[in-house]
Symmetry: C2
């Protein structure tokens, strides 16, 4: 069975259910192409943080509900996330994912296309077999729509030195915010605690997702490859600019432009020069403040939830997200 990320050791109940979700995903993966099956299983068991299924499970704990159903829906959420990662790696030509070679790098783009498609189907099957009604499927399809729109929008603004923080926020809303929102929504909605509670949970999830992605982008400027498990800043060479750089461009455009205008031809020295300028510009701190703002909104939302053990866990977990180092 796939190992659950060590961060869940202090939450044995969630750790157990996450392990069951991973096992269920693995049970659902059997294609006639052994290379693809192995590639997917390897990626599933590569030790992602499982934040999305964990939030799904936690938001389902405010009401007594069939845990098997919730474990399956958490599995569906993680499967959708993994499918989007596999296809993103094709588009971005990324060679490293979850501290190991990406599927597109190891097996080629053709295998990666079908591997991602296959996981979309597994997600689809899990939802169709475990969701209590068509509403969950409708919400899920809307989220998939917004995830793709975020990715597609990002493609159109590559190498754009004038990208605004607002455009960035709209992109990460689709790319990350909506899937966190859905995870929390599905957990709450399927636990039958009512649509109002589900909407409340969805809003909290959105703020968590935005804070998480901003922090993830900050780490590109404060971490090294080894810590981080994917090539630091290779987004920069691909023209995908995140919030620390976008903010630095507003104050240090003259010094940054000559490096960035080399686009894909940027050398490691160029990239690290930009990294240094961004660090010195104070944009990392500004971005941290922005992440803190979304975290505060999430915590304020959590504070309003009924006093139950899940609430405490959600508060601890969400606070930890802002202090993570990788």
């Amino acid at each position: 069975m796939a190992k659950v990320h060590a961060m869940w050791q202090n939450y044995p109940e969630i750790e157990t259910e996450l392990a069951q979700s991973l096992a269920l995903i693995e049970d659902n993966i059997h294609t006639k192409n052994q290379a693809v099956t192995d590639a997917i299983l390897k990626m599933i068991s590569a030790g992602g943080k499982l934040l999305r299924p964990a939030y799904c499970l936690l938001f389902s704990q405010f009401n007594a509900v069939d845990r098997q159903k919730m474990i399956a829906l958490a599995a569906a959420v993680e499967t959708l996330h993994t499918a989007t990662l596999i296809h993103d790696d094709i588009v971005d030509n990324s060679n490293l994912r979850r501290h190991q070679e990406s599927i597109q790098a190891r097996f080629g783009k053709d295998v990666a296309v079908y591997a991602g498609d296959y996981l979309f189907v597994v997600c689809f099957k899990l939802l169709a077999n475990y969701a209590s009604d068509l509403k969950s499927i409708q919400f899920n399809s809307q989220t998939m729509d917004q995830i793709l729109d975020g990715e597609l929008s990002q493609m159109t603004t590559r190498y754009n030195l004038d990208l605004t923080p607002e455009q960035y926020l709209q992109q990460i809303n689709g790319k990350t915010g909506q899937l966190f929102a859905l995870s929390c929504f599905i957990g709450a909605y399927e636990s039958q605690k009512g649509l109002k509670f589900a909407r409340q949970s969805e809003k909290i999830g959105l703020n968590i997702g935005l804070a998480f992605q901003i922090l993830d982008d900050i780490l590109d400027y404060t971490q090294t490859d080894v810590d981080f498990g994917k090539p630091v800043l290779d987004d920069m060479r691909r023209g995908v600019y995140s919030i620390p750089l976008i903010m630095a461009l507003q104050s240090n455009r003259q010094t940054l432009a000559p490096y960035l205008e080399k686009q894909a031809a940027m050398t490691d020295a160029d990239v690290h020069a930009v990294q240094g300028i961004v660090r010195q510009s104070g944009s990392v701190e500004k971005a941290q403040a922005l992440a803190q703002d979304y975290t505060n909104r999430a915590l304020a939302g959590l504070a309003k939830l009924p006093d139950m053990p899940a609430k405490t866990t959600l508060q601890q977990l969400t606070e930890r997200l802002l202090t993570r180092k990788a």
Copy 2:
């Protein structure tokens, strides 16, 4: 509005509903990436035969049912089909599709990945919004599973001179048979005429799909590029062997092997030499007999359906499929 293929001129009712299905698909396509939106719209309106949505609509006419719902579900079926074509063209490196440049050739594999994903989502949204219950979604996800498994299985048997007719049939069952089966099933099932009738329709659809794919593969050996709208026999260079060649290999292996063993390096002369050998081997006629066999099974199934106008149309349409020249 997208133009409906001329083959439907003699079926005004279906022609009108197909046009509405295409319009509904177009209404659902709006991404923040204009290139992707245009690419998808161009492919949707490129004049595919629309056989799958047409069968879906025809099998829904045995019972009075909300036509708007059926038009939407027919749209979902065509959207799923188009999504798989876009991703297949990435994997196969195909440059031509529906008589025009494929999305991957024109916009690159990265755009094509998201374009296909986006259409999966549109399909998913249409189903979630118009299906009457989770059952349709479950059947749909099982079909998507089998479609992918067919594609994946095909990848593993490339350049395999020992591919058997049975393996071929199992691959086209997934690749084509299941989507025709689903189209007929959804039409019947959602028209509320009962699960028994839906299963009957599904079986007929499977036989139609198998006959259709075999004939499609025969055309590779009897048509020219211009007639056929995609590079004739470029499957051969990619090592994807279809039934006329598989049958010819059983009787003419010595003469065929030296050409095929060149794999991707086959010249046009090699390909046409193989084409000639296959034609002379009598395998085309054998393959036609096989297609006829599946068509007969389909027609026998149709004959058992209630005597209604839709039955006559289905019989005419299915007979025409075997005499088509492109």
